[in-house]
Symmetry: C2
């Protein structure tokens, strides 16, 4: 995503400048390990974009932006324990490389780091930024709770699922954008419009993740295709399939999805075939389009010069177009 | 502790007024469970006392005070997982009553609640209060890390141990006091003196905990005597005994301490006898006295009217005199 590069260098530099103490090594080594393995750094970059949209001073939004990235990494550390995810960004996750206790405590400490960064925001906007940060942090926890509950439930509706991904994924994207806008001194109604842009982009982003896991190209996605199917994850595709399927297909999908007896590859192929037959790929794409459309509508309604929106337009377009 | 009552009612009321959402119940029920089981509520009370010492407005320090209590409860939730403590305040700990994942996520959410409370502080002092809060939070995590490392190590010095309890216990007491002082607008040098009072009180408090676990009265302490011995915990008493003992007593203590073969009661009796023989009870009392003395010296040097110090004097005296 070319438009991201403009900001990501500043973010990378600022993150690399954070001083992480040497001792106790058992606490700070896993934090260094996590910070060194950079992901997309989407969240801090869009905080800066949210600030730039309203002609704010990028350097003033930088600490909060970095706070968003560290917060995101903290949630991954704890989520990986809860979801038993052994790998993260191509490396063993912290609880696997060390142990659960280390991942709990290093995660807690990273949350404090995130707070420390956010607290560097100018006094003028500090209270509003912190209110938004605490709100999104709480909602991300609620999202993770729903996610865990859904894995143990046989009664999850599409509406439940959308609410869950809104909380778990979209509010952090929306909040990151809004915090940038707050620091730029944007009017509240425009902050809210940018927030809605973020919510819709965030939901679309997660639906796309679900889609790419099944219908993506292994090489470009950069991870094994069908992982959600192998781990019986209740994704949008699965829930939608269960919604639209007739009784016998429903039974067969349920059985296939919940058993790994025939081997992983066979399972992925069988489920994919059912999804295709039910046109779940098409339905998911259409749903994504719907959210992208809502996002763009929200962006267009923001009261700034048209050309100022180009970056976020490009960002949304690239996100829609992504194959990894 | 009579002097605490004056403030604890306000703290209790304010905590009971915090709105905890209904949904997702799986996340908020364990939080309600934790908040309902009140402990001493020492930390919020001393924040208010720290504020009162400098003639500050108590109501302005109340949100931060409550933040200290919720933060303390958050650390207990995660510590209980890490330390495998099945009971807390006479009830099953959260990870036992529910599970590890619930305790991780409920803990994270309580940390956010703590932040939300601290953020209610007036803008004028918000940045300083948050800086102190984030600093103490990080140090508490460092203390927990050292505590875990020490349990797996055979090479812990008394100095290591004091540093650990300073981080794990004393900085939260010292920070709680200091935050009260900041909100009262106290001069920085007096804030620092109150902080040092808290550090020394905190270390003394933990040494006393170690002492009471072995030499306390079961009925007044309110929990089983000798629990640290049964669980082979490296307390001040054990480390001091290992320091002062001659080679053969050292060997015998080490063997007795690390085995539960002869039954719990027998083990506690044997270790207690060795401690008595080495006069570790007396040495620990003297060490406690030393820290209480340092605390009082620090308190006396604070530049406020002498009578304003009476509450904290009484607090320190009661703490020294406590038998539970």
């Amino acid at each position: 995503m070319s438009v991201l590069n403009k900001y990501s260098e500043r973010v990378d530099r600022a993150i690399s400048e954070i001083v992480i103490p040497e001792e106790p090594d058992g606490l700070y080594q896993p934090i260094r390990y996590t910070m060194d393995s950079k992901g997309k750094r989407l969240r801090p970059v869009i905080t800066l974009m949210g600030c730039d949209l309203f002609n704010g001073t990028i350097s003033k939004a930088l600490p909060a932006a970095i706070g968003m990235e560290i917060f995101h990494n903290f949630t991954l550390l704890h989520d990986d324990i809860m979801d038993k995810s052994p790998m993260r960004r191509g490396k063993p996750s912290v609880y696997k490389k060390w142990n659960v206790n280390t991942a709990i405590l290093a995660g807690d400490t990273m949350f404090i780091y995130a707070n420390e960064q956010v607290c560097k925001t100018d006094n003028k906007y500090l209270k509003n930024v912190l209110a938004e940060f605490n709100k999104l942090a709480r909602e991300v926890c609620e999202g993770q709770q729903y996610d865990m509950e859904f894995e143990a439930s046989n009664d999850v509706s599409i509406a439940d699922y959308i609410r869950m991904i809104r909380l778990k994924t979209a509010v952090l994207i929306a909040g990151s954008l809004k915090i940038g806008a707050i620091i730029a001194g944007a009017p509240p109604e425009d902050q809210e419009k940018l927030y809605q842009f973020g919510i819709n982009i965030g939901v679309a982003f997660q639906l796309q993740d679900d889609y790419l896991d099944v219908f993506g190209d292994e090489e470009t996605v950069g991870k094994q295709i069908g992982n959600d199917i192998v781990t019986n994850k209740k994704t949008y595709l699965y829930l939608k399939a269960m919604e639209v399927a007739k009784e016998n297909t429903k039974q067969s999908l349920k059985e296939t999805y919940n058993s790994n007896n025939d081997g992983k590859e066979q399972k992925v192929e069988s489920v994919k075939k059912i999804f295709k037959h039910l046109e779940v790929d098409k339905i998911t794409k259409e749903e994504m389009e719907k959210y992208f459309h809502l996002a763009n509508k929200s962006l267009e309604s923001i009261n700034v010069k048209d050309e100022s929106k180009n970056e976020l337009r490009e960002f949304a377009f690239n996100l829609k177009d992504r194959n990894n």
